[in-house]
Subunit: 362 residues, 4 copies
């Protein structure tokens, strides 16, 4: 399948940036999960451009639940959430239709869809499609909360500015989930926002790294091969258009160390088996060990920058220069954070339903 | 599914370290792909422990093709390759059965399989299971070669020693695929091997980073969401028991840069569309753009070290100290390289069969 | 997965009878397939109750294509067609909420969804959900037509009245696809409609058998095991709520004969390999042989009848008597016919895309 | 996927008639299911040709469990059962390699695999491949028995001879599972066997209908669309090479009746909800209602008959006459019965694992 993910709980997304709507169909959620429309709206708002560091279109993202929810609870049948597109300005795009925006999917879409693609505003490749994932993810997050499974993500780095590490994950997650710009150290949040503003003034964009913690997953979940916890999460997370790397723990730094440094010693604490360190990020052999799952996503700088860029005209097969117009963010890392949380929640609902049956999360 | 991966071309693996056999069933390969038994054997040999830096069991990995091949060509029906286990010494393991080896899957297997797991030698979690992937991957590599699609992997780093970067990928791949210890700079190969020997003397182990290049994939392959080229490759690569991170290009370093630095400008060269840099690693919007695909896998240090380690006895739920005996490698990164190539080839065969039909790769 | 079917071309349906909308997301269709909105509407009209033999709700089934179509052609990305529910009268149902309508899914839905199901009007089990399949199937039928693959279904029997058999399938299909009440012999059509009227006057309902022909499929399509042509079609056809049997050719009659009678002799005709008879219905070993595919669906009588019926109250766990009110058809077989065509077309698009790649049907 | 079926519990088969082995990999079975090797062997023996009515090759079907079982219990990891081919006489087949045996898959295999197929003895299309399903099905049957879920199949008809119907399904199943020739009425068994002998003497073959009962499935299992209980069972059952029709209850006869006759009234009996009749065969809306599931498979006459048959030479594209040599059964319906039981058990294990989690059936 293509725009569908998951087995026991599956997610299908559809839509184009300048079509009539984007949306999501989630199937397989347990019947009886509470559906809190305010929470869905607040999650969608986190995904939207906010304040002075986001110059892009300010769409309120109103959503409609068209199926699968009855009297504010999931029914167990497919939940369809539609988010109509309201502020589409299609005239922006036709003039530069065949100029491949660098780091964007215009050229690859053309290679794949032979020119039939709806190219306006990035079409089906637009970050706007993630709104469906966020709306659906909000229900998945609510489902996980019924078992006290918690997810939180912070901007670990943006440019050369580093947030502090997770210290008390449960408290840190509670704080992060109240924040619009999810950084643990408020001073760093301010520095990052200043950097993003400066970057915008330079007609440039900037990327960074998101770090996510998942708490209270039961031990023994995941598969040894292929459907490892790492593999399933990474598969889905790479859907986020800007994500180019996924590591569990701090892998790319730590793997060059010795086994005596990397190994996580087990220990009994309060009659429970824990590990003293957590370099394996809560996963051994693809399966949860009960410790927090920790992973990082590398989020590349927004491809749309206002500087002249060398490119090609793929209709004429000749070199060209492109100056991108329109409304674009100088950074999306702070917005991508809620998408990471949402995808993570959807994947975990699937894995848990496979392991414990369709009714477990309710 | 669990131990199965892929849609149009699917791979199913089975086996335990000390059971009777490990193996692989590959279904959906085009009929007519040449099957070179010598190549399968040489790939299996690359996976085996070699020479002075591998102290572990020296199993010759003879294999049997039991179905799906007729007169040295694939038939189009399921290919089953079985690799009997011959050198199993089960008595090593029973005494320490309930002592969780740190960074290994003993404890998580116990949580998942409730003690019914075949625990001997890591059972189904053993790196030995990758022999099936390597045998099947050899046929996938041959299939890709019919379209000149080439794959090569080098040890980018081992401990603090760095190999040089890919310079001329086509030539570099040709060289790498002749080498047992796949490092581009021969001096670095020697340094790494010395480091591994020293590490073994310290009763320790060491990890590193593998970097892979894939050449000559057609542009326009992959999906925009979920089944992105990145997502499918990462999903499968995380099956390798030691892999804890996957990045495309040099993502975790580069994303903290500016868009003006990260974006890959398009350009016409020899009447073909290329990019001037390749920070996006050949993939835009989940879809190939015709440039080389480049990715790195973080391979953690071998968990089995000969030092005393703190752990728990999960039968008694009490703290314990474990000294691992038996035969174990101080590093597996040089062996993991052929597993990465194999998995990559299998995933690409699947993606290409989905895109161009079941007969394309023959 | 649950409400999703297909691999290369997949179909996801959602909706409840008295919710806000029903609909379908089809993914994986080739880019460039013509989308004829009039044809979609006319197919939806065939599914709607018509004239004097249908007393049920007369909903015009207006539809909206919300994604995946640009300038009247498929883009290659997910096509979402939504059909809003407009004439819902929810007050009909609450009084009898816990009285299991015989042969309906009220009780089984309660067992599965624990009372969280949207029970109004059958909820997600309503025949109305097939509107999404019909809308999506219309595009699939158009895709198949690009390769001259034709599908037609007639009411083979309704009660004790039998239509004539297919004689010239290509001409017969052309005629059937112009008819609202798809019977090859016009006299039999009138008899059947009279029977349905009489049945309605008796407060009863009646079933029958649909027979479908598929022409011009290339030979060599389908799989030997599991994903046989028969198995994939049957899997999807059993989704139609009233279908309780699927046979290829006239299997349940013919299998009690001798091999010398049942076997289809091959012969060259006009330089093409054909079979003299077609008892195997165009399929040998799960794979098409180039002859017409012929299958029959047994469509049970509409469960809703206006007579008092014995049942249980599954809240009180006690016996009860139920008299069904509201709007219900005395027969749905003539309406189910377009659903059979639609599902068949969707399944074939999937099978053909797997075999020949994603771009073949355009 | 192709030769793989199932999501939570999946089955992969491989092998060719004259290759080295046939076999099955079953993944996702709960850990701890008892594995009774004698039962596997006795099930395999039921599939083998027996006594005077089977002239075909008398292969003892010894099997080897190569993975996934430890100390006579499933481990939860993939179970691989291999059945070596021992009595292969390949010289029989090469002379007639391009003469399409009527009703066999020679010609369709050639269309699909372009001549690369292993054609000897039907290759991957041989009924022998079902040995893997039977071996794996034996474990699935044992798993179901842990929850008292019972499956039994009888030869409902062979030619013009009819067995009696199920009367007391639980007792009938117990009796059937002791019989080699599974007919409820012993007189009819003798008549059928005589008919088969006569048919063999006429150099002909004969088919029939199998009827299966499944008892004690919990209510509430199955999905409303696509993955209906009927659809999943039918999908897998059509894999049996001779099955050309699947009906639930007696659908093709009964659907031409009135709703007042077909509907199954609910009633409380012993404080449990049952239905007074069972025309819906235990399934409403795709979901079990707790009554027995009853279905019938139409099994076509064995295609191999010893009479001269018209056919084509598909290499030369010209008409030909074929006289089949070798060892072939005049009927396979009595052997197909254990294949139906096995496939049914495997499909139910999958459906139940999806519903109740991976550990339920142990």
């Amino acid at each position: 399948m293509k725009n569908t993910f998951g087995q026991s709980v599956s997610v299908t997304i559809y839509g184009e940036s300048h079509g009539q709507a984007v949306g999501v169909v989630i199937d397989g959620l347990a019947p009886g999960i509470p559906v809190d429309e305010d929470f869905i709206q607040s999650q969608l708002t986190l995904r939207r451009p906010v304040g002075s560091i986001s110059t892009a279109r300010q769409e309120p993202d109103p959503f409609q639940i068209l199926s699968g929810v009855y009297e504010h609870k999931t029914t167990g049948t497919p939940v369809h959430i539609m988010i109509p597109n309201t502020q589409t300005r299609s005239t922006d795009y036709s003039a530069t239709r065949s100029l491949a925006r660098p780091s964007h999917a215009d050229y690859t879409a053309y290679c794949k869809y032979h020119g039939f693609e709806d190219f306006r505003g990035g079409g089906h490749f637009s970050g706007r499609i993630t709104a469906g994932l966020v709306a659906g993810g909000a229900i998945a997050l609510s489902a996980l909360k019924t078992k006290n499974i918690l997810i939180g993500t912070h901007v670990k780095s943006c440019g050369n500015i580093q947030d502090r590490e997770f210290q008390n994950p449960e408290a840190d997650i509670a704080v992060l989930n109240q924040k619009t710009f999810a950084v643990l150290d408020d001073n760093k949040a301010e520095e990052m926002q200043n950097l993003i503003k400066q970057t915008a003034e330079q007609k440039d964009s900037i990327g960074g790294i998101l770090e996510t913690a998942v708490l209270n997953l039961p031990a023994g979940v995941g598969e040894p091969w292929f459907d490892t916890m790492e593999g399933l999460l990474a598969h889905a997370l790479f859907s986020i258009p800007a994500v180019k790397g996924v590591q569990f723990g701090n892998a790319f730094e730590l793997v060059n160390s010795y086994g005596s440094q990397y190994n996580d010693a087990f220990r009994i604490e309060n009659n429970k088996i824990i590990t003293e360190t957590n370099h394996n990020a809560g996963i051994n052999g693809g399966i949860t060990n009960g410790m927090p799952i920790l992973f990082q996503c590398a989020v590349k700088p927004t491809p749309s920058i206002y500087q002249a860029q060398n490119t090609v005209d793929f209709f004429k097969n000749e070199n060209a220069v492109l100056e991108i117009k329109g409304r674009h963010d100088p950074a999306i890392i702070h917005r991508a954070r809620v998408v990471v949380d949402s995808i993570t929640a959807l994947v975990l609902c699937d894995i848990l339903a496979q392991r414990f049956g369709t009714d477990w999360l309710a």
